[in-house]
Assembly symmetry: C2
Homo-oligomer: 485 residues x 2
């Protein structure tokens, strides 16, 4: 119920947790760092997953499934990869009542197990490109967890592709980044920056990592998806060579890219308010809830009228629920369905019925509209479309209002607050600044302000002139810094 | 290619493996007992999974997701349950670089982790029924594995429901058994017996286990799905009580039910032949393949004509692929697509084109039909429907031809062969016989013939008169015995 939601101003973290728990999206579990995804949360993930799946198939990818367990020796074949993942692994040492000769880890990601098979499947350029996606659970031990946003186990999709040429692999990396951007912006209404990660922040084993970065309502950044150009790193680690069109042997070129249940957390944090969850209609388990209002003498007639409206909406393909539960009041239901994030509420009372009307109330703005019953379907469609657009606009305006261009360290410290002076956590947002490319500058800023280099935005790297905001050396990139999840 | 498939008569097991590997449905993996599901195999599983999912939602179930790892102490709360699973567990002893205080096992099934949450979610009869399904990977160590049919890790769905009354839970158990039967018979064209398992064969922790049992082409039985009435066993183990409508406290009643990627193996074994895979059109990745036949001078015209046919079929929603690859001959393509199990082949040559015709060839029977191009869609639909029906009929006839009613031990030993005399593995099928209900009789037959009690068919328990075929004591049940996968 709405009164259980802590206001954002009071405690942003608690507000988020309150929504997740009260809207029954997820729950804690008895397994350290792992969550339970409840039906309403899973329904959101299903819609996101299915949209991604559709887009992957549209771009020529096929699904497959590889083992959950990975021999430890595999992980060690790519030096940076094992270094990146080793501290967070869950290790299986016993199986079938015996101690195993070689321990397995539970996959934190599947590059190594997949490339051990690609070695067998790829012989010639005719076997390429190999465009495979996997829907799976992965696990890497996390100390500080938060429902959906950071859990030891999570569900994701991971694409793993192999190509004849470097150029093709780079194109694939950017193609999937663009699919991610489009799904997140249009389907989830979350505006994102697309950019490249720094060496410090890139995926362990990648040549270059591309990312989409969103801004949450507390002005922190959230990495919503990544796409990696792996070069020939894994091909060399697993000795995957192919016969080229010219008849010579070469290592294949690779990409990988992933998105996870973390997206559900991003949606919640981006759109919700102090009344509870706000969802884009595209991913809401129900788009419309009908709440009938009646007394004993009008009950049968109002319910029949509401049932007709419900049937009309459903027949038009609008996901609709009629809340005819007699044990709670209309006012309680309004608050409850607002908390659950249903985009559009329809109220129907005896007077509405007599006038062949109904009332539509938008979850995002609270705006009310009187609608003729005959126009219910058309008007519901209009309002759902309007909500979808408005959520994106609102989030984009918020990000723009909280993005600044800064020129020097002093400005960055002012913006993010200085950890040393106890002013960190005070402000923040996205700070765009020139950067020399040195990891030292990155680390320095992170230590003092907790702000990290989120990405080098792809569309802002032209005409770089000037000096690094951090050290004064000649600048090479335009970078965006922010605190992050 | 077709020539790689070992004939069934020569070596049935090798025939199966040849099909799985050559049709690229699955592959071995470097992880002991675990398989890789390749794109063509995964596409079949996706279609089965989605049909099940649709049917589960139609019957009021919702999906959720629970942790992969289960604290060992949870498994021990239900005595029979832990006894049934303990020998096959994979144990995680280390996580995040440290030895864990309490080891986890990887879920072999999720009753215990799920019921630990149901304890929190269920307070009153208003919270019931709770109808949840999970799509997940599970793992239980297997010594002798076979692709799809028996692997340490596999994908499945597991339903876990909680109810107010015993009757409701029993009804749910049988409702889901019926969903399973219907999907397997109508969607996968595999006839099944529905029945109850004996005490020896039931699920560890269940009061009663119901099963659907299919017959493979080597006359062995395959358990294709199970539905368990769990009584109050898990509610008591996890102390899940609810306030009844009358205001008292009672333990809730439970069911669980599951089907897995094993079904893909069942489909392969039931329908395929010595040319390779045979698939019901419902689950085939492609329903129709068009193979154009041309010489250089007719190439452009034939391809254009074939392209029009392809577009017409696709527009009608028929999953169609046009194989225009110039590097292999029509004859090679015929064999290749037969091996891959595409239900319907369309051949188009220059003469067909000139006559506005095409040739349709059924994968199941090899039957050829000349069809006017204008009738391509209607005829393809007719033939695909006919194939779907014919596959079921053929499998049912095979099962009926290999099912016998037997009266005594001698007849059973003759039918199954006697392990002691070296005649086991020689014959077999389904043997229906009267049974006293004693586990001793079951074990005795198993030891001598490898045949197990598959089920007590639900529709054959009326009017039992006579004596147990095994011991001569008064009979209580009509049982079906068979060797099994």
């Amino acid at each position: 119920m709405a009164e259980k939601i802590t206001p954002r101003e009071t405690d942003y973290s608690q507000w988020y947790i309150d929504i997740v728990l009260n809207a029954k999206l997820a729950d804690y579990s008895p397994v350290k760092g792992c969550m339970v995804i409840r039906p309403r949360g899973y329904a959101i993930w299903e819609r996101i997953r299915d949209e991604l799946d559709r887009r992957f198939k549209e771009t020529g990818h096929q699904n497959a499934y590889f083992p959950l367990l990975i021999p430890m020796s595999f992980l060690k074949k790519e030096a940076e990869h094992v270094e990146g993942f080793a501290p967070e692994l869950a290790i299986v040492t016993h199986g079938g009542g015996e101690e195993l000769e070689e321990p397995y880890c539970i996959r934190p990601t599947s590059e190594t197990i997949i490339w051990s098979k690609y070695k067998e499947w790829i012989q010639s350029w005719r076997d390429l490109p190999l465009l495979i996606n996997q829907l799976a659970n992965v696990l890497s031990w996390e100390k500080r967890t938060r429902l959906f946003l950071r859990t030891s186990e999570f569900l994701w999709q991971e694409g793993h592709t192999a190509h004849e040429t470097e150029q093709e692999a780079v194109e694939e990396t950017l193609r999937m980044l663009e699919v991610y951007r489009d799904v997140v912006e249009r389907y989830l209404c979350i505006p994102v920056l697309t950019g490249m990660k720094s060496e410090t922040e890139k995926f362990a084993g990648a040549i270059r990592t591309y990312t989409i970065e969103a801004m949450m309502q507390d002005k922190k950044a959230l990495q919503a998806g990544t796409s990696h150009f792996l070069g020939q790193n894994f091909a060399k680690a697993f000795d995957v060579k192919f016969q080229t069109r010219e008849g010579s042997l070469d290592y294949v070129w690779a990409t990988s890219w992933g998105m996870s249940t973390r997206l559900v957390g991003a949606v919640i944090m981006t759109h919700s308010d102090d009344k509870g969850l706000v969802l884009p209609p595209t991913i809401a388990p129900e788009e419309v809830v009908i709440v009938p209002i009646y007394k004993n003498d009008s009950k049968a007639a109002v319910l029949a009228y509401a049932g007709k409206i419900e049937a009309g909406l459903k027949a038009a393909g609008i996901r609709t629920v009629l809340d005819a539960d007699d044990s709670s009041s209309p006012g309680w239901k309004f608050a409850e369905w607002e908390m659950r994030g249903i985009p559009l509420r329809i109220e129907i009372g005896p007077r509405d019925m007599q006038a062949d009307k109904l009332v539509m109330v938008r979850r995002d703005s609270g705006e009310k509209k009187f609608v003729m019953a005959a126009n219910a379907v058309a008007e519901a469609r209009n309002l759902l479309d309007a909500i979808q657009k408005a959520l994106y606009e609102k989030a984009r305006n918020f990000r723009e209002a909280n993005t600044v261009k800064l020129k020097d360290l002093k400005a960055l410290l002012d913006f993010f607050g200085d950890e040393g002076k106890g002013t960190a956590d005070a402000r923040g947002g996205f700070a765009e600044a020139l950067w020399c490319g040195s990891a030292v500058c990155e680390t320095d800023l992170k230590t003092r302000t907790k702000a990290t280099l989120r990405c080098l935005p792809l569309d802002r790297q032209e005409g770089i002139e000037g000096v690094c905001a951090l050290c004064g050396a000649p600048a090479k990139y335009r970078a965006v810094f922010a605190r992050n999840y």
